[in-house]
Symmetry: C2
């Protein structure tokens, strides 16, 4: 390939300016684009195809865990948002308000949903009467609006897409079990489908969802050393059921408030795919989530349309017959070299090259996007080799990401080390913390790092060491990081 | 079954009060519910499962026709809506406006999308440069808000869900071909999946989409004799490309405006399923779209849990293994009779009954929801018989709906007959029309009927008869009806 054909030359190297690299990839790979409205993006077909794969896979997991989908209104009356005190305080600075409908000023402002606990809580109060109606296990796929000041495509946008689960249970124990079950489901989804390893645990109280008793999260490490929250699962306790009067007659005919959970994952996961797996040549999508898993590029020399093209077509058809997302790039206006770069940039995990000599030899060349390694495979062996290679690529990306994560979890027992790691190495710092919110706030203001998770395992959580920042008695080992 | 167990007694008979019957079914079958906000509904899990089936099936057809999905912003700046004169005039009375974001008044009001031509047009102008970029074949699944005065669940709601296709083409002919291709796709979808036969054709100019050159529609007949528009496909010509400056360099290096189409189907199709197929006992879902296709009800007598239940479970598992949506209703707190009524009301196409005697005889009873006909089938024959019966039910519902439609298309050559049919028989009236909008408006004000479609076939469209209302020279045979 001529260097002049490399469209990736147009992308700023990752090591030079990570933020610029990210924004350029998003646009050049046509994942998303800016609109004239601040913070609102268009998810273009190549990006939306990733979201469709995420949706299909996550939705089937959510359903297999017993949940059903529903759809609640986009708007929430202002008075509803105000019913749960912490909730309104947390969300009201971020709300977009509808004040005019048709030609008329509305009597009450309507919030464009920043999350749906309030409207769903109102409906649950109407529907739930008895313990026989429980558990209620409902999920919704929807768009969400939060008026953000600083935005970045996929990572933080005024409008984003997500799923939000909202469940009701008879007992506190069942609510907690559901919260942790979803946390595990999210972790499995991220690691299996996205090849993104995560840390799991609870948030500190200052980082929890506005209105929750406890927030649990999964956190991933981006390749610039900053953390990204990939999903949250909230134990809502009885905060919303008391605010919205969601009561049921229990097994002993006593009226009780239900115990609730809510949990969500968003289009931000696409940002993680870019930042965990991408390299200087562009995206590297894990095969299980890639819009196109294999692209066949015929080498356009001589009478290739009569000789090479039919063979490439047949190979693609055979792979599609196996259920693979395979495509043929037969464009005449682009050279093979240009196509190679373009599909590399767009993150296609595997490239299949076929030229005239390959046709004569009854073979094709497979090129891995993750490692660049090439192998020559007999045409007849493609239907066996391609799926196996895709599995290897999925595993390879996961292994690489896990190694990076593990290499970037560092322990600190004193504040100087703690600050040095955050300033010069980034990644996660595991350190004892006193449990005090004021100390946590001081760490944040001095290091820009927050507690990402406090692991659930007793062995990690218990600590006898003094707090890394204030020296008071440590209460937990926490993972700190700078984050998106 | 004891009559006292019939939960359907709570539903107003269809023949007595169709509107009340409709609203009661929607709520009692838990398809949807009202919210405190006028015209905004919740789509409950049973209703949303229908929408998911519609989505899956319609989406695969749209993709097979070469389209890809994307996602554009929920908000549209007011200035964008105003760029196409007819468009803003048509939609501005129905727009919900966001005027406050976070704590601040916005400089420019943002429309909550009533349709997305304006924001998509703006982006297309940015993306499209050359004929090589065409055609652009993009679809979006989204929520839409229109501030309606009179609302009814599914049929007309302030917020609804839909898909909207937005395509760009090199020539007027390609735009027209796309418009008609989608019209045919919609027709095939409605008739094959929903078992709802439709009339197809163009709208009169007074009924076309605000901003289109021509609107085509599919129209179905509800069982109360009123028409329902099931989907529309618009040839936008160059109206929006001129307003939004969407130009491309054509094959002879000349700048041209693109030719566009847009088209949509909505959650209103669920309303059609209710009104076309429902009866006094409740819903009758066509199997291809039914959330549950077959429900097994064990007859709970004696030691049924040891004898009947395992057999019912095995039967359900076997049906699921075939890919059928089969469920077991093993609830202990409900009697078989109560369950029969409930599943009838919820529209399950096929019921499988198994009692102790059936177990001994190695058989089960299948009861069709559409006809009530029962048949006894050996357990071993269920995996063959159930799918075949579901196909028969799908075909039976379609045949019944088609017979009703055909029996309710009547010709009128004079205005007295025309009015008599609309007043006393309802349904469609096929009549010659002069083509004059004033005459059309007079017919509407005098009979409450509008032109639903003007068929495309020349043989139907051409007419030598005088206009049914004014007696002027007829220009087309049109289908008139009262409608939702």
């Amino acid at each position: 390939m001529k260097e002049s054909e490399r469209q990736v030359q147009q992308i700023t190297p990752k090591s030079e300016d990570f933020s610029r690299w990210y924004v350029e990839i998003v646009q050049k790979a046509e994942l998303a684009d800016y609109t004239p409205m601040k913070g609102m993006m268009v998810i273009r077909p190549h990006g939306y195809a990733v979201w469709e794969n995420i949706q299909r896979s996550l939705d089937s997991r959510i359903k297999a865990a017993g949940h059903v989908n529903a759809y609640f209104p986009l708007f929430i009356p202002e008075s509803f948002l105000k019913k749960e005190a912490e909730h309104v305080e947390g969300f009201s600075p971020e709300v977009a308000w509808v004040t005019v409908g048709g030609k008329e000023e509305l009597e009450e402002r309507l919030a464009v949903r920043p999350t749906s606990e309030a409207i769903i809580g109102h409906m649950y109060a109407k529907w739930i009467k008895s313990w026989r109606d429980l558990p209620v296990l409902v999920n919704q796929w929807a768009n969400i609006v939060r008026w953000e000041k600083v935005t970045r495509p996929f990572l933080r946008t005024t409008e984003f897409l997500w799923q939000e689960g909202h469940t009701c249970h008879e007992t506190a124990e069942e609510g907690e079990a559901e919260t942790l079950k979803i946390l595990a489901l999210y972790r499995d989804f991220c690691e299996t489908e996205l090849a993104v390893p995560v840390l799991t645990g609870r948030k500190s109280l200052s980082e929890k969802f506005a209105g929750a008793s406890m927030t649990y999260a999964i956190e991933a490490l981006m390749s610039d050393g900053k953390a990204l929250q990939m999903g949250t699962s909230h134990n809502l306790g009885q905060h919303f059921s008391k605010a919205f009067d969601i009561k049921f007659e229990d097994r002993s005919q006593t009226l009780q408030y239900v115990w609730q959970t809510s949990w969500g994952m968003t289009t931000r996961t696409i940002g993680a795919l870019i930042m965990v797996h991408g390299d200087d040549s562009g995206l590297r999508f894990p095969p299980r989530i890639a819009p196109v898993q294999v692209v066949a590029v015929p080498i356009s020399i001589g009478n290739w349309k009569e000789t090479v093209l039919p063979v490439a077509q047949a190979a693609v058809e055979a792979l599609r017959g196996l259920g693979l997302r395979a495509e043929l790039d037969a464009r005449e206006e682009a050279t093979p070299g240009w196509k190679f770069s373009e599909h590399e940039m767009r993150g296609v995990p595997l490239r299949l090259e076929i030229g005239p000599r390959d046709v004569k030899a009854g073979q094709a060349v497979l090129v891995r996007r993750d490692t660049g390694v090439k192998e020559t495979v007999p045409l007849a062996a493609l239907p066996a080799r391609v799926p196996a290679l895709l599995d290897e690529i999925q595993a390879g990306l996961m292994a690489q990401a896990r190694a990076f994560l593990e290499a970037n979890i560092r322990d600190a027992s004193d504040y100087a080390t703690f600050k040095d790691i955050l300033e010069n190495k980034r990644g996660f710092v595991r350190a004892p913390w006193c449990g005090d919110a004021a100390c946590e706030a001081r760490i944040k203001s001095e290091t820009m790092a927050t507690i990402r998770v406090i692991p659930l395992e007793d062995k990690d959580a218990a600590t006898d060491q003094p707090c890394v920042a204030c020296g008071a008695k440590g209460q937990a080992l926490a993972y700190f990081a700078r984050s998106y």
